[in-house]
Symmetry: C2
């Protein structure tokens, strides 16, 4: 993989941890698609000379630097001064930029615009201005050593607009020859721990050359990213596809989707194709399962609604769970989970229903049913059933709940694909 | 401010832009509170020698490095090898760690655990192991040159547990002398846009010296961070408190909490103090409001449950909303929101209920009721009512839903504090 890039984020608010940096991962994805490999990301503050020093160090090491931030109107916005210092030059006005900037000031103020505000229309002498169609601060592009530096504004909308419409992306793309592009895909799995997924694809991870794999484990599931570069006569896209063919066969029933797909989308799509509907009944997830399903635009075609039955009384009253069943098995039991699903399906008049009842913690556990014990029930035109899982509980309440939402959706996915239901499982401690 | 720290995030999935790094800002906030100044953040990949080279460069430059990631069981997790290389040493087993690790493997596998999995219980010779109570991978602490390096696991829950319970924070704190500390607080507001909050505290933001303020706007609300350093004889804590006194008075009814508090916690706490209970009825938020409330441990004392009535039929059947009301005003109306709240309160037998019905988009909007139109109803022992808001819709469906959860909770907060309900509002475009 040829071209090397570095992403730099500028701002004390990042170093204080006040804001989470979403520009850097966005820039990384953009650069990957153009054929750059991002070898590092750096976050620096507003100190005089800091950015200049970093850029001097990167010159000769990498081909491209994309920076975000430090172009605003306040005293601690120093990116343009750092660029001028790097070139040993001063600042110059962007032709025709001052008048609109002054007009923008005049809309909110009676006084004429101050110097610091007008600085937003200046760029280092010797650099190329990059227009910011979503804001007032201009970006710039400059070359130093063998390196091209694209300086973009920090607010995410302005950053993206300056990149796409302001010409940053075109400059970065022009550095890369045809066919140097990278193709990227992410495969999502559910049902196996990271170590078992890795065992399925270990030899593919160890290959060197045109394809690189990475595994990421999150409460939502384990995902596998695949990055392909051109391989002799084979394009990156073709190389990616042949790797995906191998991987999908290896991952089999555990793989439920790719890239930006969510498990909720996959489930809703399968139901929509059959013209069937869904209802949910939730206890320990408290509404998160319904929330996840309705995050999908258009979910109302399939999803009829749900019950958050957080008390025993509401399980009886709203879902018709028999009181003797609750008394005999407790609210967290396969029996009650199944009855909740059957009740939700019948009362909503839905084709399918899924139910979750469990102990999310930190309190409420017992020796027999420790924190992390969660039961899932389902009901469908084909019948009903339930499973019990002991979730990995040490990561806390929020994690148990997220794992449970994922497992409820995966239970539906498997049932809709006529895959056998997963057996009871213990992921505990 | 004396001690200098650097935060390092490790992982190709960060350099690919596959995940957003929330560990680095979290670590920065933790370090600030201990009295460190974070001078830079770096993200590096899994290449052999990369991390070692970075650490060598930082040795002599900064006092502390906190790294996250690269400690898992897969081949691309190299942090412990990099630590060993830095010390010119090998790896050693953490005493007593192997048996639980092998037991954890045995729950999912029939074969004995492979080498790469057991690597999680090894640390560089000469380092101090840091226990990870939330996962299987141990962290470690080592010294090189004048620098202390704390290596924490990447999954956020495990990272925090290793820092707090595993001893990382105690080691970092022990490096800092008394009185060097920084005091940090974040005040949370709801109900006013960023520019109005800024206008309330502008003079406080412009002060220089021992106190520094920052404003951050997110869909959850606008928050104000306050960072205080010692000021002559006054400790950082005392300086912080006197600034907070001023700010809380300025922010008045708009300020609902501080630091890690959530709006759901504040509402549940107010209800618990009164011995009262709550139910919810949700349409466009699809369960997210119940999900947010039940994220709070112990919420079952107060929260009885909820209904996700995603169809008109379910609003009638489950909440008793009169069909003529739906026909006359539509599902997204103050009238229906109020009827939903009244129905939820009566059927759950709760003291309070809140209801949300709106158009989250991207489809379903009209000229009269554009995307972003959301109605909130409430019912309490004192009566019932409803408001309409036009949320900021350009940020998309997920943002409209998050704004709506926040507004529903804030409506409850204000009612419980006997503050006047906010009037209908238009935040649109």
């Amino acid at each position: 993989m040829g071209r090397r890039a570095v992403v730099v984020s500028v701002g004390e608010e990042l170093l204080d941890g006040r804001i989470v940096d979403t520009n850097a991962p966005w820039a990384a994805r953009e650069l990957l698609q153009l054929g750059y490999r991002v070898v590092a990301m750096h976050t620096v503050g507003d100190g005089r000379g800091e950015l200049e020093l970093l850029l001097r160090g990167l010159s000769g090491e990498v081909d491209l630097v994309v920076s975000t931030g430090g172009l605003g109107p306040t005293a601690d916005d120093r990116t343009r001064e750092e660029g001028a210092a790097l070139l040993g030059a001063g600042l110059q006005e962007v032709p025709d930029a001052m008048a609109p900037l002054a007009a923008s000031w005049a809309r909110h103020h009676d006084q004429p615009p101050p110097e610091f505000f007008l600085a937003q229309a200046r760029v280092p002498v010797g650099s190329q201005p990059l227009e910011n169609p979503a804001g007032t601060a201009w970006g710039f592009a400059l070359r130093t050593g063998g390196l091209l530096w694209l300086a973009l504004p920090g607010p995410p909308g302005e950053c993206a607009a300056t990149w796409v419409e302001g010409g940053g992306r075109a400059l970065a793309a022009a550095e890369v020859g045809d066919g140097a592009g990278i193709a990227l895909a992410v495969l999502h799995t559910c049902g196996l721990p990271e170590s078992r997924i890795e065992a399925l694809v270990r030899d593919r991870m160890e290959q060197t050359g045109a394809v690189r794999l990475g595994i990421t484990a999150r409460p939502e599931g384990v995902s596998l990213s695949v990055l392909a570069t051109p391989d002799g006569e084979t394009s990156a896209g073709a190389r990616l596809q042949s790797e995906l063919d191998v991987l999908c066969e290896r991952l089999g029933e555990w793989c439920w989707g790719r890239d930006t797909q969510t498990l909720a989308e996959v489930v809703l799509c399968a139901l929509r194709e059959r013209g069937q509907t869904l209802a949910v009944a939730e206890s320990c997830t408290g509404g998160l399962l319904g929330g996840e399903l309705t995050e999908v635009a258009g979910s109302s075609e399939v999803f009829l609604g749900g019950w958050v039955t957080y008390t025993d009384a509401s399980k009886v009253r709203d879902l018709g769970v028999p009181e003797p069943l609750l008394a005999a098995h407790g609210a967290v039991s396969r029996e009650v989970a199944r009855a909740m699903a059957e009740g939700a399906r019948a009362r909503a008049g839905a084709d399918w229903a899924v139910a979750v009842t469990g102990i999310a913690g930190p309190d409420g556990g017992s020796a027999e049913k420790p924190v992390g014990t969660v039961c899932f029930g389902w009901a469908s035109p084909q019948g009903s059933g339930a499973v019990l899982r002991r979730q990995f509980a040490r990561a806390g309440r929020a994690s148990v709940r997220r794992q449970s939402v994922r497992d409820a959706l995966d239970l539906l996915r498997r049932a809709l694909a006529a895959l056998p239901p997963l057996p009871d499982a213990d992921r505990g401690a």
